[in-house]
Subunit: 310 residues, 2 copies
C-alpha cells in the first residue's frame, strides 16, 4: 500500500463510494462536503454496494477547502457544474507534488483543473459506474465500478504514459476494491465514455425514463443507436476513433445492465443544474470544429438547454 493521502472533492455517489473504499482499505482520506457535511461529521458513510455493504462511522470531513490538509492526491468528484469553484478549491489542498485526478464526466475537465494547478499535475479517470445517492452520507452502488486512469495530454494527440504517481493511484484503487486500469490516451478514452454518456444522459432526462425503458422501446432504442453513431463519427473526426464494434458493445452492455437513472435524469427531475457543458456542448463544439456537425447531439443539447433555461 502506497501510503498516499487522498482529498476527495465532492461527496456524491462517486466520491462517496471511491473515497469510502480507500478509507476502508486504510488510506488517509479527507472529504470536502457541501450539503452532506453535518450528516457525515456525525454519522459517516453508509455504502450499499453490489460488491458488499459497509459503513464508516467516522470520517475526516470538511465544509471548506481552506480547512483541509494538503494531500498527495486530489480526486475531483463534484459535478462539472461546480467547476467554476476549482480556483478556490484546489490551491489549499495541493502542494508541489500533488496529483489532481478528475473523475468527472465529459470533455475539458482536465483543462479546468490544469488552468488552476498546471497541466503536469493533472490526470483523469473514467468511472464505469452505476451509483446514486440515496440520502445524506448514503450511496447506492448498483452496477459496474471500474476506473480507467490516464495522464492529461494537454491538447496533444500523442499517447502519454501514466506517471509513477498515477500508477500508484490505480494500484491504490485496486487495493481498495475498485478495479482499475491505466491507459495512455485519455482523450480517446473520454470519447469512448461519451459514446454512452451522451445518449443515455440526454435521452433519459428528456424522455423521463431509465435506461431499461429507453432500451425496451424501439423508437428510443434506435435513437440511442443513431446518437452513438454520431458520437462515433465525432470521435473519429477529432482523431480519436472508437474501436470497431464499440457501439454494438455499448448497446449490449446497457441491455445487460440493471435499470439505471443517469445523473442528468435525476438532476433534471430535481431541478438541479445539468452537466450540459462538459457532456454535450464541449464534445459538440469539438466535433463541429473538426467538420462533424452531430445534428442529433445538437438537437438533444438544445432541448436540454431549453428545459433548464430560466
Amino acid at each position: 500500500m502506497s501510503g498516499l493521502t487522498y482529498a476527495i472533492l465532492g461527496c456524491g455517489a462517486l466520491g462517496g463510494l471511491y473515497g469510502a473504499r480507500l478509507q476502508r482499505a486504510g488510506f488517509e482520506v479527507h472529504f470536502l462536503a457541501r450539503s452532506d457535511y453535518d450528516h457525515l461529521r456525525r454519522h459517516g458513510w453508509r455504502i450499499d454496494s453490489k460488491d458488499g455493504d459497509f459503513v464508516l462511522p467516522t470520517v475526516h470531513v470538511y465544509d471548506r477547502a481552506g480547512r483541509m490538509p494538503r494531500c498527495d492526491v486530489v480526486l475531483v468528484c463534484m459535478k462539472t457544474t461546480a467547476n467554476g469553484l476549482l480556483p478556490s478549491l484546489l490551491p489549499p489542498v495541493t502542494g508541489p507534488e500533488t496529483l489532481v485526478v478528475t473523475l468527472q464526466n465529459g470533455l475539458g475537465v482536465e483543462e479546468d483543473c490544469a488552468a488552476v494547478v498546471g497541466a503536469e499535475h493533472v490526470a483523469g479517470g473514467l468511472c464505469f459506474l452505476c451509483s446514486n445517492k440515496r440520502g445524506p452520507g448514503w450511496v447506492h452502488h448498483l452496477d459496474y465500478g471500474k476506473v480507467v486512469f490516464g495522464q492529461f495530454q494537454d491538447g496533444k494527440d500523442a499517447p502519454l504514459a501514466p506517471s509513477p504517481r498515477l500508477r500508484q493511484v490505480a494500484a491504490d484503487f485496486a487495493a481498495a476494491g475498485t478495479p482499475s486500469e491505466l491507459m495512455d490516451d485519455l482523450r480517446a478514452a473520454r470519447w469512448r465514455k461519451l459514446c454512452w454518456n451522451i445518449p443515455y444522459n440526454a435521452l433519459c432526462a428528456i424522455l423521463g425514463a431509465d435506461t431499461k425503458v429507453v432500451m425496451e422501446k424501439e423508437a428510443s432504442r434506435q435513437l440511442v443507436a443513431a446518437v452513438m453513431r454520431e458520437v462515433e463519427a465525432g470521435a473519429a473526426a477529432c482523431g480519436k476513433p472508437l474501436p470497431p464494434g464499440f457501439v454494438g458493445q455499448m448497446l449490449a452492455d446497457t441491455d445487460a445492465m440493471a435499470p439505471y437513472q443517469p445523473s442528468m435524469q435525476l438532476d433534471l427531475a430535481a431541478g438541479r443544474p445539468l452537466e450540459l457543458e462538459a457532456i454535450l456542448a464541449r464534445p459538440l463544439r469539438a466535433a463541429q470544429a473538426a467538420g462533424c456537425p452531430m445534428p442529433r447531439v445538437e438537437t438533444l443539447w438544445r432541448e436540454l438547454a431549453f428545459l433548464t433555461s430560466t
Copy 2:
C-alpha cells in the same frame, strides 16, 4: 354563391370554424361529429374569432356517416390519426360528382382519400390557422385563417390546374369570410406548410411550451431554425424547393403571431394520439428516400414516438 352542399367530417377547431362560416353564409352544411354530437345537436356552434364572434344555434349534425346525405363537397377535417376510418366514412357522403377536399396536415393525406374515392375526386387544402377547441361545440380562432387549395397530383411532379369545382370551393370559402387561394402545385405547398408544422408541433409538444416561449429562448429558437433548414433541404431533395427566404419568413411570422399551442402539444398533454405519421414520419421517409436524412427531424420523431408508445 355556388349552391354547393358541404359535408364536414370532423368537428374540431378547423372543421368547426370553416363549416360554421359556410353555414352562416347560407350554404347547406352537414357535420359529422363524434364527442361533440350531443352538444351540437342541442346547442349548435359557438365561434369566438378574431374576425368576429358568432353562434349557430341549429346545425345539421350526425353521429355516423351512414345517416348523412351525399354532398357536392366533402371537407375532411378530422385528425389524420383517424384516417383509418376513411373507407367507412367517405362512401356514404360521396357521389360520382363529389369532390373530397382534405384540410389535414402533413403528407400523404390526399393519398389516404384517393385510396377510397379515386384520385380524380380528391383535392387538398392547407389551412394557415391558429384555432383551438375550447369545449364541445366551441371554437376559439386566435390568428390567421387563410386556406390554400390545390388539386391532388397523384404522385406526379407536374403542376395541375384546379378543377372548376375546386375553384368554386375556394370562392365559397372567400364568400363565407375565409380568405382562400388556389395553387397548382399542392405537393410543394404541403412542404412549405411542413416547414412550420414539423418544428413547432414537435418541439412545443416535447418541450411543453407554446410558440412564444419556444421563440423567446435562444436554445429552442435556434433549434427551430435548424429543423426548418432540414425541412428545406428535404423539400428540395423531393423536388419541391421552398422559395428563397422562406425559412426566415416563417420565423418572422411566428414571432409576430399570438402565443399558440399547436395541436400536437395539446394532444400530448391530453394523452390523445399524435399526428406523427402524417406530420413527421411520412416527410422523413420521403426525404430519406430522396437521399436527405433529416437527422434532427428523425430525432424529434423518435422522441415523440417514445413519449406516445404504450
